[in-house]
Symmetry: C2
Subunit: 218 residues, 2 copies
């Protein structure tokens, strides 16, 4: 059986399909990510993708998995503010490289393991810095909106109950920070909203007054 010309047709794989899809999105936007177009980028028919990915939805989920794993993890000893700053900077370069990413990430129906791992790491940083589970939960939401570019609900938006118990159970040993928040924090949307808003308003007021004090009066 003759070898095919070197590198002309390396076998497809889940990874190669996902990378190709990300590439198409980078080049022509999220709407350009169609099974046919991704297949074409790989020199293959659309139907071949189904051997490596169950369908379009799972392809999109897989893209998110890849993206989340790009976010940097500072070593555990790092001071909390610095750790958050590193993550934020990293999330930011990610969004710059893939401008379509926030739209996709905020739109997927479920939190998958890589995202859970990411959230767990942020929560652990906060818990270790002395934040209560409740405040850590709120902090996560305040932080990840603007700064990390996306937000995920840990509690079911309808019932306010924690996510699927089966998923929570599967996370206990691997995701201690997240588990603790799910067990010890309650989700009060109104309280969290008021808190975030006041935090921002107070910060802005402080900035305005400092601004007036340092610059020449206009």
């Amino acid at each position: 059986m003759p070898r095919q010309p070197a590198g002309r047709r390396e076998p497809l794989s889940r990874e190669r399909v996902l990378y190709a899809a990300i590439d198409v999105a980078d080049r022509d936007g999220l709407d350009a990510v169609t099974m046919r177009r991704v297949g074409q980028a790989l020199g293959v028919e659309a139907m071949s993708l189904y051997n490596h990915v169950p369908g379009k939805q799972e392809l999109l989920d897989g893209m998110v998995d890849m993206l989340v794993e790009e976010i940097e993890i500072p070593p555990a000893a790092t001071e909390w503010k610095e750790a958050i700053r590193t993550r934020a900077r990293s999330g930011r370069t990610l969004v710059r490289r893939h401008p379509w990413a926030p739209a996709l990430m905020t739109t997927r129906p479920a939190v998958r393991v890589p995202m859970a791992t990411y959230l767990d790491r942020v929560l652990t940083v906060l818990l270790d810095a002395g934040f209560s589970p409740q405040l850590a939960h709120t902090a996560l939401h305040v932080l990840d909106s603007r700064v990390l570019g996306f937000t995920r609900d840990l509690f079911d938006p309808g019932t306010q109950e924690p996510m699927d118990p089966a998923i929570v159970a599967s996370l206990t040993s691997t995701h201690p920070g997240m588990t603790r928040i799910l067990e010890e924090a309650t989700h009060d949307d109104d309280a969290e909203f008021a808190f975030a808003l006041d935090l921002i308003l107070d910060g802005l007021e402080r900035a305005r007054d400092a601004d007036g004090a340092t610059s020449a009066r206009r």
Copy 2:
């Protein structure tokens, strides 16, 4: 010419089409908003919609126009924090009523007049409260991310230049707050990012320390 049975076929209009589309999205999500499905909701063929809306993209733009106009405008005399709070609450009920709204609003390619009007009102509140144009611009971004649920770039993300000059010119008399920001503020993405992050980190630190002081030690 005989009258048709009362109310059985009131004529289509841009407004009726947009309301029907919003209704479909509320019921079955944004993906369910197809020309055929919206037509069906109105008891009409998909092609009839083209008499009232140039195409799918403009239908989506029109939906955003309608949504933005739902956001409440407190009277001009209101104290600035209270004014922002009113807007934020109003944006929040909007998002609760139409959970698909943020995804759509952050995804449209251009800022249209109703959105510009909304942004102008927020900016005017801030300017009147003594914020510099630069700080008002930053404040808008910090605020509208989590709190109002969506973010719009006023400056071209590529060039950092203000939006289309023709559009800016058309806004001078009607949108004074926005015009002033476009003329007097510069857009430094990195500086704004650092500012927002520090504002949040400092606010969180303050909250953590207050938390520890008021609650029993754990």
